[in-house]
Structure formats: structure tokens, C-alpha cells
């Protein structure tokens, strides 16, 4: 780790220059504990979302160790705090992936910006990163495994559901950053392809942490009072949600009038909101805490026991880490080593049970298959699942609804090994296959 090398540097400077010529035997890679890096912010603005994931990873690792570890070796967590600072994410990822005490895998990140910061580092140093959060897609890295939802695993099915409920007008509200922008671009294209007129789509962006929702909510109210059934598709980010829902409730917009379907509001976000006025508003995820399966009940029991908090909630990114961790563990068993290249090859096709009673498979594009669910908010802060895809949906790295990416696919299997393959021209734009 860099801290240790810095200490060495200081030691080195106290000894006279170049005097120290003695070497030490390199530590063999396949001995000692397997090191699992956890790169989630524990302070700063993202701590609110990410710190639970750190705890969950510690729980999963402890459980794995109780079951005998992996390949007969114990797992050892390496926790750092990138403090919601993107450059620290990159710095700490580099730190984790260099030196004798290099980690074998990293579970981490929440925001796209932080993932983009870490991406070049894990590619350069050939690390493994499991990213557990729904994101905007349009990316596929050889070294990253996307266990959260791609837009086709969340946004598009949610819109399908609303259309089936008779919704004809669409207010796309989002926080002004890449995920909402890309998702809304995809949704707009999708809605128009389904015959929705331009006038029936309203798009609005607000800054991070926005709280003065009055005029926007009243605009939406106006937009929704034109006689057609209207719904809000919300990609509003974290902190802005509480004032948004408060304003909705106070302006008297109930789920019966204008339902809101959110992509970034889960059980954890609801713990900070009084949900009584919000009953019936929706969220689209791949997992809800209320999902009816024994795997889920076991997981919740474990989580409650681990945190010692009777009220502890679980959410979708936690399921993503659960799946990701189990996939990685299984891939390591299969490969018989933690060697990154071996694991990268062996993990494709690995299938593990997910928490909703089915199974998820790692696809060649490093995304996984998941069911998509729509949940309605209940007054106890939980979601009640009102609809679910009959089968799991495979994550699509490159959206079919955007003109610039509709011909692109990603396939990291041996002969192709390409993250950005144009299927028309059969040219690879990114990845080892490009050469």
C-alpha cells in the first residue's frame, strides 16, 4: 500500500542515498489471505448511500470466512474512505492495486463519476471492480463487472408498465448529471418510438441537493391536468428527493392522480421520509426488501443480526453486491486461483441465486441478468411489488434506443474480447480485440 511505501520513502531518505541495497524475497501471490478491497465513501456527501455497502461487504466476507474462506484461504477486507472525492477514489484504487499487499478484487463506488475515475486505474493495473449501482450504461470495461441495472433493466420496463396502466403524458424529472440525462435520452427515444407526441413529454433538470421544488411540482401538476393520464419518471438523486416528495404530498398530488416512478429511491432513502402521504408512488428496481423469497428472508435475518438493528433495511445495491460477491467467489473456486485474468475468464456464465428467488448469470458483456420489479411505496417505508418481469432481463451495456450506440455490443469472451463492437462494420472500438 502506498502509505507503507511512503513510510519506506521516509525511512529511505533518513538512510544515506543508495546505501540500502538489500532486497527481500517477494511474497508469493497465492499464500496468505485473499484481500478484498472495499472502496465506498464513509464520509462526505455519498456516505449516506455507500456506508451501508461497506458494512454489507464486511458481513459477506465474515460469512464466507465462517464457511471456510475461499480456496482454503481466509478473506481479509481492506477498507478505505474515498470521502466522496473522485480523485481519492482513483488514488485509493491505485493504492489497493499496487504493492505486495495488492487486493485481489475491489467492491465499490456508487456514482458514475467515481466509477469513471477508477476505471482507468483498474484497467491500467488490471484489477477487478464490482460496481453495484444502477447506472446509465454506454460503458463496458474489461475490468469492471456491473451488477447494478443498466437502463434496459430498470427504466424501460418501468415505462412499459406505466404505459400498460394507461399513462399517456410523461414528465421526466431528473437531477442534472449524466445518469438522468442519459436515461432520459433513452426514455425519450423509446417513448417517441412508441408513438408518444413531443408535447406529451416534459423534461426538467434540477441541481444536486435541490430543495425548492414548489414551482416545478406545480408545473407538473399543470402538465398533468390536461386531461390525459400523466406520470412522473424520476431520476432525482438522493438528497433532493425528500423535499420533492414533501412538495408532492403538500400540493395534493397523490399516486392516484400523478404517480411517480423513481429509479433512485429505495428502502434506504425512504427511511428518511415520512411515507404516509406517498403511498402508491412507485420505484423500479431489481430487488425490494419486501420480495417474497426464503433467500431474501435469510439475507434480511443475517443483516439484522449483523447490524444489531431491528429496523435495518436492505436495498437493491446491497443485493447487487450480494450477487457480485457470490459470483466472484464462485469464479475464484472455478478458476482455482484469484488471478485476475483467470477470474475474468471463469466468471462469465457463472450463475448464482439472487435474493428474489431466481438466479442471476454473468453475461459476456460484464452485466448480469436480473428480474425487473415495480414496487409501490407503503406507509411503513417498504415497497409492495405490484409487477415483475416474467423472466430475468440481461443487462445491455449499449442502449438500443440511442442512435450512437444501437449497433454496439460488448463481448469479453476469448476470441472477441471487445467492449465496444460495432456489429454492422464488425469493428472493435475498445478493448484488446481492437488491436
Amino acid at each position: 500500500m502506498t502509505t507503507t511505501s511512503l513510510r519506506k520513502l521516509i525511512a529511505g531518505s533518513s538512510i544515506a542515498l543508495g546505501l540500502a541495497g538489500f532486497g527481500t524475497a517477494a511474497v508469493a501471490q497465492d499464500e496468505g489471505p485473499i484481500r478484498v478491497g472495499i472502496l465506498h465513501s464513509l464520509s462526505g456527501t455519498m456516505a449516506i448511500s455507500e456506508s451501508t455497502l461497506k458494512d454489507e461487504m464486511l458481513m459477506l466476507i465474515a460469512k464466507q470466512n465462517d464457511a471456510g474462506g475461499l480456496l482454503g484461504r481466509k478473506l481479509e477486507p481492506v477498507v478505505m474512505d474515498p470521502a466522496s472525492d473522485w480523485s481519492l477514489y482513483a488514488e485509493q484504487a491505485r493504492d489497493m492495486l499496487t504493492g505486495d499487499d495488492r487486493v485481489d478484487v475491489i467492491f465499490g463506488n456508487w456514482t458514475s463519476a467515481s466509477r469513471k475515475a477508477v476505471l482507468p486505474v483498474v484497467e491500467e493495473l488490471n484489477g477487478l471492480l464490482f460496481y453495484p449501482v444502477q447506472y446509465e450504461g454506454e460503458e463496458s470495461s474489461e475490468n469492471i463487472f456491473y451488477t447494478g441495472a443498466a437502463p434496459n433493466q430498470q427504466a424501460i420496463p418501468a415505462v412499459d408498465y406505466l404505459m400498460s396502466q394507461g399513462v399517456e403524458r410523461w414528465a421526466l424529472l431528473g437531477t442534472d448529471y449524466v445518469y438522468p440525462r442519459t436515461t432520459n435520452k433513452i426514455l425519450e427515444a423509446y417513448l417517441k418510438a412508441n408513438g408518444v407526441a413531443d408535447d406529451d413529454i416534459m423534461v426538467n433538470y434540477t441541481p444536486f441537493g435541490f430543495s425548492d421544488w414548489q414551482s416545478i411540482v406545480s408545473q407538473v401538476k399543470d402538465f398533468g391536468s390536461q386531461g390525459k393520464k400523466t406520470a412522473v419518471v424520476s431520476t432525482i438523486n438522493g438528497d433532493a428527493n425528500v423535499p420533492f416528495y414533501n412538495e408532492l404530498a403538500n400540493q395534493g398530488i397523490s399516486a392516484g392522480d400523478i404517480p411517480v416512478v423513481a429509479f433512485s429511491v429505495g428502502e434506504q432513502e425512504l427511511t428518511g421520509i415520512d411515507t404516509a402521504p406517498l403511498v402508491g408512488h412507485m420505484a423500479a428496481w431489481n430487488y425490494f426488501m419486501s420480495v417474497d423469497s426464503d433467500a431474501n428472508y435469510d439475507f434480511i435475518d443475517d443483516w439484522v443480526a449483523y447490524t444489531g438493528n431491528d429496523q435495518a433495511v436492505t436495498n437493491d445495491p446491497m443485493e447487487a453486491h450480494f450477487i457480485g460477491f457470490n459470483m466472484w467467489a464462485q469464479a475464484v473456486e472455478k478458476a482455482g486461483t484469484t488471478d485476475v485474468d483467470a477470474v475474468k475468464d471463469s466468471i462469465i456464465g457463472v450463475t448464482v441465486p439472487n435474493l428474489s428467488g431466481g438466479a442471476s448469470t454473468m453475461m459476456p458483456n460484464h452485466h448480469i441478468t436480473k428480474p425487473v420489479m415495480i414496487g409501490e411505496i407503503q406507509d411503513d417505508g417498504q415497497f409492495s411489488v405490484v409487477w415483475q418481469t416474467p423472466t430475468t432481463v440481461a443487462g445491455d451495456a449499449w442502449s438500443d434506443y440511442l442512435p450512437e450506440s444501437k449497433n454496439l455490443i460488448s463481448d469479453w469472451r476469448a476470441p472477441l474480447r471487445c467492449g465496444k463492437l460495432d456489429v454492422e462494420s464488425m469493428t472493435c472500438e475498445d478493448g484488446p480485440g481492437a488491436e
Partner: protein, 544 residues
């Protein structure tokens, strides 16, 4: 669980709702209606509940209707439990349960048919019947028609209001008859509007007069297609629409002004404490936001201590938030600020450190997650003036609270001994001291006061936004901006600056969007400061 493709459109449901509305209107003949329109079927309770055990929400709707139509004596309780998500079936069993308390992980349950105690259940053992939005609306209607309140004036009024735009040929006559039999003027009025709208749709230009100036959007929506033609009716409809539109514009302006003032009141509340510590004492308090956060957390704690009484808790939180944040302020002043007298920039560094500590403290003590603060009844909903103008109560409450805090603070500075001493110390420390003012005590109290007011801002913010460790951070930049824009050391300046920034922002928002509006406001303030380098209320006069 069904996929959405199996579900047909919603039309039948809507038709059923109209029927419900009509029966709600007929107060006096409720029992007659419920027996004649929906002939009651008597069937075995088990079978009624069994029908709910389906993944198809439409089938569930039919089952719920069947329960309502049945003569089962438990039907109200069943429907209520279904609505609350507390009715369920034993997993891998045949019994039906009602959950009496679903707050924990182990629920006390009773048998749904006999209402006998059935021990406890968990998610694993009880399969709760789920409902969705449409079903919820339907069950609420069913419950209303079953309840004793059905037929009283309030529910008749509500039903009448909902009829606007829903009258069709097959029910027009019966509505007209009901209108004539209706005794209450209040209920008759919306019925008149509904009927007039129907008449206009049938080509009756006379009926338009009833609609003139009515701001209901359903009227506008119905009239817009009618106004599109060349006929005299269309021309008349256009003039009615124009009248509605111009009336609406004024209400919209009033609404925007309210939005602006309420947004401004938050800025003022967040900044006014800073106007004291920074404006009066010259302390650049970067931990100001965290003091706001402390006020918000105090509200939460008091609410935790008084479960079920959010109103009382909020009332107590006002002095509570003030005192707790004020106490923190006094401690900060005594331990840190005091030693940095006359070094304003170094207070920036020290208080920045303090803000990091306080934030992390909250994360360690209360967890990094947001806390849930419920609003009391009287802070929820809106005060509806008319269709176009409504004052949301929480915003209105915060606006009034802000003005009250400002007035109190102003009076304190103007009329009390402490205020006099504060002003004396600010203007000439040495002189004040020579005249017997205990400057150190005044400093402590001033900082405590500023911190306490920040705490009050936190109490107010807890009603509007997240209560979490990041709460304070998001207000610090805005707070400083407001104080500087208003003119450092001037309470009135802070009020005017905060309110005008709020209004400008809300006026711009519909035009350019929230992000650009914020950017424009920021750039505007920058340029304004060039014009008036000391803010709106610059201290004038000879400075030497």
C-alpha cells in the same frame, strides 16, 4: 403474478367509479342503492377472501367488490385491512389473518374470519395480499360508500366536485335530478358547473355563462376543443377561455410570488444566524451549517421522545433547537473563537475544522443515513384559495416562522439591553468596555444567539428537507452569499437579500430551468456586488 399485457384499458374501472360517485351523492337512499344497484350476494366468508388470493389485480378488484356487495359482517374490516396491507393468508396453509401491528419484524395477528388472536406471524409465514394504485382507489371508494359518513355533506361535496367533466349522456338526467333535490348550496354549486359543462358539450352556449371565470382545469380542458371551431359557440367559448386565462395569469403571479417568498424565507432563516455571527462579530463561521444541522437533529430527537405527537414535538423543538444549537455555539465561542479575536480569517480555518468534526460526529452517533421527521397535521397539505392558487402549509408555516424569528431578532437588537450592548461592542469595543460593558460576555451571548438562530433554521428545515449529516453543508454557500448580498452587519439587508434571491430564482425557474436559474442568480449577485461593493444596504458615510 401477471404481466401487464394481460390487463385491458382502465375504462371499466372509471365507469364503476362514476357509479360510486353517484351513490355517494344520494345520501338519503344509500341503503336502497346498495341493495338495488349492486344486488347483495350472500356467500361464505372463506370464499370471499379466497377470491383475493390472486396475483391479478383486476381479479382482486372484482373480489373486493364482491366483499363490499356481500352481507358478510366483517366486510368493512376486511376492506380496511386490505387497504392497509394487513390482510393476508397463511403461507402454505389455509387460514386468513389480519395483522394488527406491522411495525416490527414479528407481527401480532388475528384470524381474519373469527377475529380471534392467532399469535404472531412474520413475512415468512403470512402472505400479505398486495394492492396497487387502482385497487387502492377502488377500495377507498368502497369503504366510503360503506361507511356511516357516506352521504353527509362533506362526502357529497367531494363527490360532486369529482363529477365535473365526467357527466355523460347516460347519467346526465339522474345528476340533474339530484341537483334539484340537493339542499346544500355548497354541493349544488359544483353540480351546476358539472351540468353546465355537459350542456356546453351538447352545444348550449347559454350554459357558458356559468363557467365564466372558473379556474378548474377540467373546464379549460373541455372547452379547448370546443373553442377550436368557427361556430358562434366556439367564439363564445374562446372568450370564456380568454377570461379564464387572464384571471389565471394573475393567480399564477401570486403563486410564483409565494413560491419565491417561501424559497427566500429558507435562505433568510439559514443566513440570519450568520448575519449575527459574521455580520456583527466578524467571525467567518464555517460551522454555521452544522449548527443548522444540530437544530434539525434536535427536532428529530424530540420527536423520537414523543412518539405520535409530532405537533407537540415541533412546538418543543423551537425552544429546544434554539437552546441546543445555542449551547453548542457558546461552547464553540468559549473554547475556540474567543482565542481568535481580531483574526477573522483564522476563525475560518478553525470553524472549518469544527464543521468536519461535527459532521462526522453526527455520522458516528446517528448513522450517515437521513432521519425521518414527520410533519404535524397542520403542516401538511395546502390552503387552497382556488384552483390556481394554493399555499402549501409547510412552506407557509416556514415563511411565517421566518418572519417571526426576524421580528424577534430585530426587536432583541433594537430594544433590549443585550442588543444595545451588542451594537456598542460592534461599534467600538474599547469604548464599550470602558463604559462597563462586559465585552467577553457579550461576545459569548452574541455567538450563542447566532448559533441558536441557526438551530431554529434547522427546526424549520426539518419540515422541508432531509435531516442528515450533509444538511448544513448545502446551505453554507448560499448563506454567506445572502449575508454579503444584503450588506454585512445589516439584518434588514439579509431579509431583503434572501427574499429577493428567492423570488428572482422562482421567477426565472419556469423559463430557464432550475440549474440555469441558479447560475443566473449567482452571476447576478457577482455583478451586483461590482455595482455596490458593500451589498444592498451598504454602510454609508465617511469612513476614516
Amino acid at each position: 403474478m401477471s404481466t401487464f399485457k394481460e390487463q385491458p384499458a382502465r375504462a371499466p374501472l372509471r365507469g364503476r367509479n362514476i357509479k360510486l360517485l353517484l351513490c355517494l351523492l344520494m345520501a338519503w337512499s344509500l341503503s336502497f342503492i346498495s341493495q338495488s344497484v349492486f344486488a347483495a350476494t350472500s356467500s361464505e366468508p372463506r370464499a370471499l377472501l379466497e377470491a383475493l388470493d390472486t396475483g391479478n389485480f383486476q381479479a382482486k378488484g372484482v373480489a373486493a367488490q364482491a366483499i363490499a356487495d356481500s352481507d358478510a359482517e366483517q366486510k368493512t374490516r376486511w376492506l380496511q385491512a386490505l387497504l392497509d396491507g394487513r390482510l393476508g393468508k397463511e403461507r402454505r396453509g389455509e387460514r386468513f389473518y389480519i395483522v394488527t401491528d406491522d411495525s416490527g419484524r414479528e407481527w401480532p395477528i388475528i384470524d381474519a374470519i373469527t377475529f380471534e388472536d392467532a399469535g404472531t406471524g412474520t413475512r415468512r409465514t403470512v402472505d400479505i395480499f398486495k394492492i396497487n394504485n387502482d385497487l387502492r382507489t377502488q377500495i377507498e371508494g368502497l369503504l366510503a360508500s360503506l361507511s356511516l359518513s357516506a352521504g353527509d355533506e362533506a362526502s357529497r361535496l367531494a363527490a360532486a366536485r369529482q363529477l365535473i367533466g365526467e357527466i355523460e349522456a347516460d347519467n346526465a338526467a339522474s345528476v340533474r335530478q339530484m341537483r334539484n333535490e340537493e339542499e346544500s348550496d355548497a354541493v349544488r354549486q359544483p353540480l351546476d358547473v358539472a351540468l353546465a359543462l355537459y350542456d356546453v358539450q351538447q352545444g348550449d352556449a347559454e350554459a357558458l355563462d356559468t363557467l365564466r371565470g372558473n379556474l378548474d382545469t377540467r373546464i379549460r380542458n373541455t372547452l379547448v376543443p370546443i373553442a377550436a371551431g368557427d361556430s358562434p359557440l366556439a367564439a363564445e367559448a374562446r372568450s370564456v377561455l380568454d377570461g379564464i386565462e387572464s384571471k389565471r395569469v394573475w393567480y399564477d403571479r401570486a403563486q410564483t410570488l409565494f413560491f419565491g417568498l417561501s424559497a427566500g424565507s429558507i435562505l433568510v432563516l439559514a443566513a440570519i444566524g450568520l448575519a449575527i455571527t459574521f455580520g456583527v462579530m466578524g467571525v467567518i463561521n464555517m460551522a454555521h451549517g452544522e449548527l443548522i444541522m444540530i437544530g434539525a437533529y434536535t427536532t428529530w430527537l424530540i420527536q423520537q421522545a414523543l412518539p405520535g405527537q409530532p405537533g407537540l414535538a415541533l412546538a418543543l423543538a423551537i425552544p429546544g433547537g434554539f437552546l441546543v444549537a445555542g449551547a453548542f455555539g457558546v461552547v464553540i465561542e468559549r473554547t475556540v473563537i474567543r482565542f481568535l479575536k481580531g483574526r477573522p480569517l483564522e476563525t475560518l480555518l478553525a470553524t472549518f475544522g469544527l464543521s468536519l468534526i461535527l459532521q462526522q460526529l453526527v455520522r458516528s452517533v446517528f448513522s450517515p443515513l437521513n432521519r425521518r421527521v414527520t410533519s404535524p397535521e397542520w403542516m401538511q397539505g395546502a390552503w387552497q384559495i382556488n384552483e390556481a392558487l394554493a399555499f402549501t402549509l409547510n412552506r407557509l408555516g416556514v415563511l411565517l416562522f421566518c418572519l417571526a424569528v426576524f421580528a424577534a431578532l430585530w426587536a432583541l437588537m433594537r430594544f433590549t439591553r443585550l442588543g444595545l450592548e451588542v451594537r456598542a461592542v460592534t461599534q467600538n469595543r474599547a469604548m464599550a468596555r470602558a463604559m462597563g460593558v462586559r465585552a467577553t460576555r457579550v461576545d459569548m451571548l452574541t455567538f450563542g444567539l447566532g448559533a441558536g438562530v441557526a438551530g431554529l433554521a434547522g427546526v424549520a428545515l426539518s419540515q422541508l428537507t432531509n435531516v442528515g449529516p450533509n444538511l448544513g453543508q448545502s446551505y453554507i454557500v448560499d448563506s454567506f452569499l445572502v449575508v454579503v448580498f444584503g450588506g454585512v452587519g445589516n439584518l434588514w439587508g439579509t431579509l431583503v437579500a434572501g427574499m429577493s434571491l428567492g423570488v428572482i430564482n422562482q421567477v426565472l425557474q419556469p423559463w430557464v430551468g432550475a440549474v440555469l436559474a441558479k447560475i443566473i442568480v449567482l452571476v447576478g449577485v457577482i455583478l451586483f456586488i461590482q455595482k455596490r461593493p458593500q451589498g444592498i444596504f451598504a454602510p454609508k458615510g465617511r469612513t476614516s
